[in-house]
């Protein structure tokens, strides 16, 4: 942990992040939306363009070879970071949203027929929820939603009851972006394999990749989608990890250059995996940036990243619940922290999240107010929006204190004090 001259206890020093250096009084608590970037990531992107920029895999000259090497090396680093031994299982996409759309448009479209069903949870982010809803409607299949217990954890019994022989896709979020609760993935996977043997399991890893040590090969899911910008990489790059056997049989997503093997006048054949799913010039520079972000986190150690955020949440949640009128959504008892990660949704009675966010902004505290792309969840909470604070490696006790202080001030403003 870093304690700089009596300052906050963060895991990574703020000094590693140029934006946080530039805004010393900013308490950035919206990392679930996007993470700040360590200097090494920005340097790696710049270095690619200054030293090795060429179109990977197409040129016959040394510079292209260098670009190809850096791009491939980035793929290896990122796959390894997420526990995938085979880098060919990693398809680069723009982010989690594109990854979901890719699976739905390929394996989904092929695999779901009229009379089948797709199972999602009420926690799903729109990237998963809307994508699978539409795919289900288009296939004339049934859209089943696993509901929540009163404490907002997933009702595993209800989830299990929705699975059957006609279930073709099960889409689950690894960590809820709105509530920060970690799904019991191992238990859910076991249930699916037993009760819905023909189902593909798609795991939304947008909020787990930055916070939990992820071992894709051990998870037992078929697909894992994630976004680079949420773990400190640049925007516009993310990945889809998929079981090789599935990726090999799936039809391509976008067509064009590089994803083909040969193009005849009437019919074309496809390239091998992962290139079959990567049409056009790749976003190689940002893949390199994402690899640098993965290496940065590896340097901190993902076990320590996880321990740090749990310690912070153990401070943040009670600091909020101690304020009169504040409700934190989801379990807040001691045992809850083992299944909490990153984000905390809360409400202040009498104050709409929007107003709360504006008052907090005045104190330099950045939180997110809104439905967090989880309208189905918000409906079940009976609200149209919540306030959400989320931590990452550069967050520390000073951010927690600033948040609590600003929420207290907001309460006073709304109580008419």
């Amino acid at each position: 942990m870093h304690r700089a001259a009596g300052g906050p206890v963060t895991l990574a020093p703020r000094a590693d992040f140029p934006l946080l250096e530039r805004h010393p009084s900013l308490h950035y608590l919206d990392s679930a939306a996007t993470a700040q970037k360590p200097r090494v990531v920005l340097d790696a992107i710049r270095a690619f363009y200054e030293e090795a920029n060429a179109n990977p895999r197409r040129g016959a000259y040394a510079l292209s070879f260098e670009a190809t090497q850096r791009y491939w090396s980035a793929r290896e680093t990122i796959a390894r970071f997420l526990g995938a031994a085979d880098p060919e299982c990693l398809v680069f996409v723009r982010g989690t949203t594109e990854a979901m759309n890719l699976v739905a448009a390929t394996a989904g479209r092929e695999g779901i027929s009229a009379g089948d069903n797709v199972v999602v949870t009420a926690l799903e982010h729109h990237a998963s929820f809307v994508t699978w809803q539409r795919a289900t409607i288009e296939a004339n299949a049934q859209f089943r939603i696993a509901e929540l217990r009163p404490d907002l954890t997933l009702d595993v019994e209800h989830f299990a009851s929705l699975l059957d022989a006609r279930t073709k896709v099960v889409a689950v979020t690894h960590v809820s972006n709105a509530l920060g609760l970690v799904s019991p993935v191992a238990e859910l996977v076991a249930l699916v394999r037993r009760r819905a043997p023909r189902a593909m399991i798609v795991l939304d890893g947008a909020q787990s990749a930055p916070h939990l040590p992820v071992q894709f090969d051990a998870l037992g899911v078929d697909f894992y989608a994630f976004s680079g910008h949420k773990l400190g990489g640049p925007m516009g790059i993310g990945g889809l990890l998929g079981r090789k056997a599935l990726l090999e049989t799936m039809p391509p997503y976008q067509t064009g250059g590089d994803m083909i093997e040969s193009v005849g006048d009437q019919v074309s054949t496809w390239n091998t995996v992962p290139f079959k799913f990567e049409a056009g010039t790749p976003n190689a520079a940002d893949a390199v940036g994402l690899a640098a972000a993965c290496e940065y986190l590896t340097g901190l150690g993902m076990a320590r990243v996880r321990a740090h955020e749990v310690a912070l949440l153990r401070a943040l949640v009670p600091a909020l619940t101690a304020i009169e009128g504040v409700t934190v959504h989801g379990p807040t008892d001691d045992a809850a922290f083992a299944m909490r990660s990153g984000a905390v949704s809360f409400e202040l009675a009498e104050a709409h999240p929007h107003d709360l966010a504006t008052i907090l902004d005045q104190a330099g505290v950045a939180i997110r107010a809104g439905h967090h792309c989880c309208q189905p969840l918000m409906r079940r909470l009976g609200v149209s929006a919540t306030a959400r604070a989320s931590v990452f490696v550069y967050s520390g006790e000073a951010d927690v204190a600033a948040l609590a202080g600003a929420v207290r001030h907001a309460r006073a403003v709304f109580a008419g004090d």
Binding site: G364, A366, S384
Partner: protein, 154 residues
């Protein structure tokens, strides 16, 4: 000392959340539906979940009665409440002119202090200009009113 948000201080926040705004949020005026036949429309801000429905009874060209329902942030509720008071008894043309002025004030194109007489109690929302993220909250009721007036009464 503020963080990344620049150029604003505590007094701007006080100006935005002054007593009149908080009061209209807590106890909005003209809250509820109006019996048919009535012009009505609904507005929604998909980014934040603010919702408003506006109801208007016209007598000829005059807005005889105006009410609203909805849930949302203090700014959106207070704005809707203040709007109903400001437009009641006015003609459609007067309401159009007031809408344009209100929009210019909350987007910072015009200063609220320069138009105190025309704005009346709406002047309380002048502070929104310093919080561009909240302009949509303040103007949603007005956009919805406009939509209601363009819809035949049912």
């Amino acid at each position: 000392m503020t963080g990344a948000s620049s150029g604003r201080d505590g007094s701007d926040l006080e100006a935005l959340y002054q007593g009149i705004i908080l009061d209209h949020n807590r106890r909005p005026k003209n809250y509820g539906e109006l019996p048919a036949p009535v012009h009505h429309a609904a507005g929604r801000n998909p980014l934040c979940g603010d919702e408003v429905a506006v109801f208007v009874k016209t007598e000829g060209d005059t807005l005889a009665e105006v009410s609203f329902t909805g849930k949302g942030c203090a700014i959106s509720r207070a704005s809707a409440s203040l709007m109903t008071g400001a437009v009641k008894g006015k003609s459609r043309a007067q309401v159009d002119a007031l809408f344009d002025l209100f929009h210019d004030v909350v987007t910072g194109r015009k200063k609220a202090e320069d138009h105190k007489a025309e704005l009346g109690s709406l002047v309380a929302l002048g502070g929104v200009a310093k919080f561009p993220v909240r302009v949509k909250c303040a103007s949603m009721a007005w956009h919805t009113l406009k939509k209601a007036l363009e819809t035949p009464a049912t």
